[in-house]
């Protein structure tokens, strides 16, 4: 059965709210707004990195803030560009998505340092969509963040 106008509008608003999350995430990284990044996550939100020498996992606001505050302490100050965001609405305030990122390094004349992708889970809290989890998979990195 075709969706009603109300359903179509609801889906569109959800997709728009979700699409904004990775964009704002990049915007926060560019502006070194680490609190802003953490605010994009649910309170029990989780960030996982895979593809480096060891898996790293941070869960909850305190851990996330600690992780992101360390983001610019190494030789890499990442400046991300996000691409190819696909979204699957799961209903009931849940969704998943995947998007691809390129990183350049502010500390080295914006040299291109690598690329990877995020497997995301999103959750609707009140009227806002948040990251329930982000898992970053490295495709190639010439150096590691943090």
């Amino acid at each position: 059965m075709p969706k009603s106008i109300e359903q179509l509008a609801g889906d569109l608003a959800d997709r728009e709210g979700i699409r904004e999350l990775p964009l704002r995430y990049c915007d926060c990284v560019w502006r070194n707004d680490m609190t802003g990044i953490v605010d994009l996550f649910a309170n029990d939100g989780e960030f996982v990195t895979k593809g480096f020498k060891r898996e790293h996992r941070a869960s909850g606001r305190d851990s996330l803030l600690k992780l992101y505050n360390g983001l610019t302490q190494g030789d890499l100050t990442p400046r991300p560009y996000i691409h190819n965001h696909v979204i699957d609405l799961a209903g009931g305030g849940r969704a998943t998505g995947r998007c691809y990122v390129e990183l350049r390094n502010l500390r080295n004349n914006m040299e291109w340092v690598g690329s990877g992708y995020y497997e995301d889970e999103y959750v609707k809290i009140g009227d806002s969509w948040k990251f329930k989890s982000r898992t970053f998979y490295t495709a190639y990195m010439s150096m590691n963040p943090g």
Binding site: H83, N84, G114, Y117, A139
Partner: protein, 154 residues
Amino acid sequence: MAKTTEQIVTELADREAIRELPQRYCDCVWRGDVDGLVGLFADDGVFTIINNGKEITNKGAAALQKTYKAGLATLTPRPYIHNHVIDLKGNGHASGRCYVELRDASNNLSWLGTGYYHDEYVKVGDSWKFHSRRAQMVHMEPKLATGTAGPQEK
């Protein structure tokens, strides 16, 4: 005459679904999901690549399956899509153009080249599909420029 709310929402939904096609196309290429790629096309969908003055066209699911399987294995491209513009034409048809950068998974994701797609979209049931994609390569590094792309010439 001003559009009704119903028309506006329907057009937004159409544009959203169409916008997703090139994104999913890239996502499938990254993951090597050939079935997923072919599923984005209508049954009689056409893919054409134009590079170095040479034009190669494949039509229909079987031909697309074969050409994408060969092309992804040979080139190992990792695409990023940009600048997607969409023109709704009514009656379940639309066209668009978007621009792509390619990197090479076989070579530390080095830059492989860039180009753009001329797309024709068609609504099949409730879903939008590619009716045709014409990939015009603007610059390619030697890996593709030498003609090792894999797609079958017709």
